[in-house]
Assembly symmetry: C2
Homo-oligomer: 229 residues x 2
């Protein structure tokens, strides 16, 4: 193939920056985080370093290091002599987090209307359209993932890295409960209606409207998920 035969020029290498080496630490963090979010490691589960290490094919040392990272993210808790336990979020934890998430998304909405390019807004619209497809087909898991990706995309449009990173941490904590708690036709419809409004406000670069919708969306999310805690 042409791309294989063409010699790489040094400029091409430079323009892509240094080659990023995947680290075992990052891989373990991501895997265990996914296992928590997807419910494979349920809230309250005590993590057994030996078994989990065997399951992941790694020794205890890098696993322990990765678990400490996830403790800092708030997904795990440590007790001396008992190791790491998947954190159980109380109703208050969830409510507190949604309040803060709403506040952060509100800010992101304002900043996004200010900073987003037209092409970036189009991408969000595309995500939204695909999500609506999944809604029509009643394919819930892809719908949910697209839903979360739209939120993340709007955060990226804020062009504020601190905001994105803080939002990611809180969002990760709530993924599981939001997937479980948003089930049901009325709740689904409610969330979808909010999303329609969001994308319209973003396209109109109506900062106040988008901010208000995003913030209120989180408050409504509380009403939708509270039964599942």
């Amino acid at each position: 193939m042409a791309s294989e035969a063409a010699p790489l020029l040094i400029d091409e290498i430079d323009s892509r920056g240094p080659i990023v080496r995947p680290t075992l630490h990052d891989a373990i963090v991501a895997r265990v985080r996914d296992m928590i979010i997807e419910g494979e490691l349920a809230p309250g589960t005590r993590l057994h370093e030996g078994n989990l290490g065997k399951m992941l094919g790694v020794s205890r040392t890098p696993l322990r290091e990765a678990l400490k990272f996830l403790v800092s993210e708030g997904l795990l808790e440590l007790s001396p002599g008992r190791g790491a336990v998947v954190r159980q979020f109380t109703a208050k934890d969830v409510h507190d987090s949604l309040i803060v998430l709403g506040n952060l998304e509100g800010l992101a909405g304002r900043l996004a209307c200010e900073h987003a390019t037209e092409s970036e807004i189009r991408e969000v619209r595309q995500l939204h359209d695909r999500m609506m497809d999944m809604y029509e087909k009643r394919d819930r898991l892809p719908y949910f993932k697209l839903n979360q990706n739209i939120h993340s995309a709007i955060l990226r449009l804020s062009k504020n890295e601190a905001l994105v990173s803080v939002h990611n941490v809180l969002q990760a904590r709530l993924k599981r409960i939001r997937y479980i708690g948003n089930e049901g036709p009325e709740k689904w419809a409610g969330a979808v209606a909010d999303h329609v409004e969001m994308v319209e406000a973003l396209e109109a670069r109506d900062a106040e409207r988008l901010s208000t919708i995003l913030n209120a969306h989180m408050l409504k999310t509380w009403e939708r998920v509270r039964h599942a805690i």
Copy 2:
């Protein structure tokens, strides 16, 4: 003494909850975090596990685990083969963080006016009065610490744990730069004037006013510290 001679009753033990054992992990995290915040480990410093472990009197394994925690907090960065480096924040990082912090403190101000007890508000007033003492005496480091403690105290009055924890992470990142960048009589006076207004708004439980002041305070902080980056 009477307190030593009086036998502990089982109810007294129970009512205080389980005895919290200090862990080495937490101690290392706190120490290294302090060393970063206080400038002993300067931005850009590559941490040498062997030397740092000797300095702290711990072996490499718990030190590595603690460093992973601090990486997750954003105070350190990892590169494969180079270990942990104290993160250098760009002007954009600082600005981004202050924007988010301002928003969070604005939210905290509103919640604090709603949730704080009179006695808690009095405590903030006392912190403020002690800070003003330090200002009169031109004793800058205690002044600064009290200043930061007032912010943290207001966050606690929000009674929102997620908000407190997110705020703590961002605040820690900015402590050093704020200490360095806020030096000078005009800047100091500007910050103090904001604080006077904050405490008055809190005492008056004027949520909108406190929220606005806290948010604006961060924007002014940007103007004060930007030269130091």
